[in-house]
């Protein structure tokens, strides 16, 4: 059974739709990554999944049951670390213990609070009695995470957990989140711009743009202005004088083109390119490994645009894919999706 099932969700702020998801589900015990540009709806989606907001339309099912904010079945099992985490105006100890008090769960409270603080790399002796205002930004963020970990939630939702913290704090937070997954099987849903980290730990990564889920994996987005080439096609001149061509139905300059990495084909020489495809010549700039799925991501820079494509480990092994190497990407113009 799916842990979450989203059914025709639309969420609006002041009557402006900011998120629209027809159908999406998440599986229990998995780590799911959310990526996408700022304003794509990642935080809104996490707030809905964390049941801190109610969708304007549609229904969210949790563990097969209809669920809303204040539903008894979800309050004790789901917790969200918001992007701008807020510490209550009380000591670190009381901040971490707040969720336990709300649940009237006082068993071994001190030990549990200490353990949660240790998990995020904060010594209980030094930090437990500190007031909320005597913490650095990174420490405050870690206290906020400890306040979630102490609850041992079934679902831990993390909104940009490593943003605005130093490298050491970021590392500790990443380890603590993984501990929750390994130790008590928490399902994690994480939004982050740290694509490498998501690739390292996630079973699935979904890409959001303009409040919609575009699909699995990193997407390449191309923004206007667009040049009309003929009745069906429009193009964008890239900085190295190549043209990205796509089938474009309207003249809307604000339209954004996205291309599914699965629709991109990589070629090590220009002899291999099939008929009817558009081709762009670029340079392979970086390689990444999705540890869980074993897929290898390749980033190809064409001018200033970076295209991401994926290869299986077997395909990757058959070619000489080295960063710095010239490479050709081909795609069919009809595979370009438009978002308005």
């Amino acid at each position: 059974m799916a842990l979450y099932q989203l059914d025709h969700i639309i969420h609006c702020y002041k009557d402006q739709p900011v998120l629209s998801i027809e159908d999406w589900s998440a599986t229990e015990g998995m780590i799911t990554g959310l990526c996408g540009p700022n304003g794509s709806g990642k935080s809104t989606l996490l707030k809905l999944l964390g049941f801190v907001e109610r969708p304007s339309r549609g229904q969210i099912y949790f563990d097969g049951q209809k669920a809303d904010p204040f539903s008894q079945g979800v309050r004790d099992r789901v917790t969200l670390l918001p992007q701008d985490s807020y510490l209550l105006k009380r000591s670190v100890y009381k901040n971490v213990a707040y969720g336990l008090h709300v649940r009237k769960n006082y068993t071994h409270e001190t030990a549990r609070v200490q353990e949660a603080l240790n998990l995020v790399g904060l010594s209980a002796d030094r930090f437990a009695q500190r007031p909320w205002y005597a913490l650095s930004g990174g420490e405050a963020r870690r206290v906020a995470l400890a306040a979630r970990l102490v609850l041992q939630p079934k679902v831990l939702l993390l909104d940009e957990p490593t943003t605005s913290v130093d490298a050491a704090s970021a590392q500790l937070m990443k380890e603590a989140a993984l501990h929750a997954h390994k130790q008590w099987g928490a399902s994690l849903i994480i939004s982050s711009h740290d694509v490498r980290w998501l690739q390292d730990i996630c079973h699935d990564i979904i890409y959001l743009f303009n409040g919609r889920i575009l699909g699995r994996g990193q997407r390449t987005l191309l923004f206007g202005p667009w040049q009309r080439l003929d009745d069906n096609r429009a193009g964008k001149l890239l900085s190295n004088d190549q043209i990205f061509i796509a089938n474009k139905p309207s003249d809307d300059d604000k339209a954004v083109a996205a291309i599914d990495p699965a629709r991109l084909t990589l070629h090590l020489s220009d002899h291999e390119i099939p008929e009817g495809s558009n081709t762009l010549k670029g340079m392979l700039t970086s390689l990444g490994l999705e540890k869980i799925t074993g897929a290898i991501s390749l980033v190809v820079a064409v001018g200033e645009i970076e295209f991401t494509a994926y290869l299986t480990a077997d395909t990757f092994a058959t070619g000489d894919y080295r960063p710095g190497k010239e490479i050709w990407i081909s795609y069919r113009p009809e595979d370009v999706k438009w978002y308005y």
Binding site: G50, V52, P82, L88, K89, A144, R148
Partner: protein
């Protein structure tokens, strides 16, 4: 200048010798202001919280009225309360005219808009992430309200202090509703007004000093509480 210095010296004599008339006015002030503050906080904090926290039709209009009432002149409140509790008034049977509870009613009316308006502002200006944080940690509806109120405690304390300042220093209500009766309803401020009219600066200055001391003690206590 000499008469001011003389007045100051006599004021200290009155205070340190335990002058009964001086301390009667101090006691009357403390009693009425305590009643008024207890009532205004009891009603004002929940109403202010509701006004700041909930969104309901007519909220802006209610807010406008409360903000306008911040400027209520004390003599006008005195007049209205007098009209209600004087013998021919609708509450005349209760015998509240020229009593400390009568003054306390007037001072409650004075303090209530201050507590409501400043509490509402305190709740409105809470961090937008507070609600998300509380809900994400599993707070229910009641806990959400309680914790929000607790988070706003410093600003609400400031609201209470501001209201206390107005109550302690007002003259109009105490004079009109209390009647400035010696040993009975004479408060610090009405006594100062009377003694100044009589040219008796010593008692006026002594009472003024006591007023300042009370304000100092109250502010010191609140400052201590804020660190908690």
């Amino acid at each position: 200048m000499d008469y001011i210095i003389q007045g100051l010296l006599q004021a200290f004599q009155l205070l340190f010798s335990g002058d009964a008339e001086t301390y009667s006015a101090v006691a009357a002030t403390l009693i009425v202001s305590s009643y008024a503050m207890a009532a205004s906080l009891l009603f004002g904090i929940p109403l202010g919280f509701a006004l700041g926290h909930f969104r309901f039709p007519g909220r802006r209009q209610v807010r406008l009225i409360v903000d306008t009432l911040l400027s209520l002149p004390t003599v006008f409140i005195g007049l209205i309360v007098y009209a209600f509790i004087s013998r021919q008034g609708p509450l005349g049977q209760m015998g509240l005219l020229f009593t400390l509870p009568g003054i306390a009613i007037g001072q409650t009316i004075l303090a209530l808009p201050v507590v409501i308006a400043l509490s509402a502002t305190a709740v409105e200006s809470m961090d937008v992430n507070l609600r998300t944080t509380l809900l994400s940690l599993g707070a229910g509806r009641r806990q959400l309200l309680q914790s929000t109120l607790w988070e706003a405690r410093h600003a609400i304390l400031a609201a209470a202090l501001t209201a206390y300042g107005r109550v302690m220093t007002e003259v109009g209500i105490s004079m009109m509703v209390g009647g400035n009766i010696k040993w009975h309803t004479r408060t610090i401020t009405t006594a100062i007004a009377l003694e100044t009219n009589k040219g008796q600066f010593a008692l006026g200055i002594a009472l003024g000093l006591v007023l300042l001391l009370i304000a100092f003690v109250v502010n010191g206590s609140v400052s201590f509480l804020r660190k908690k």
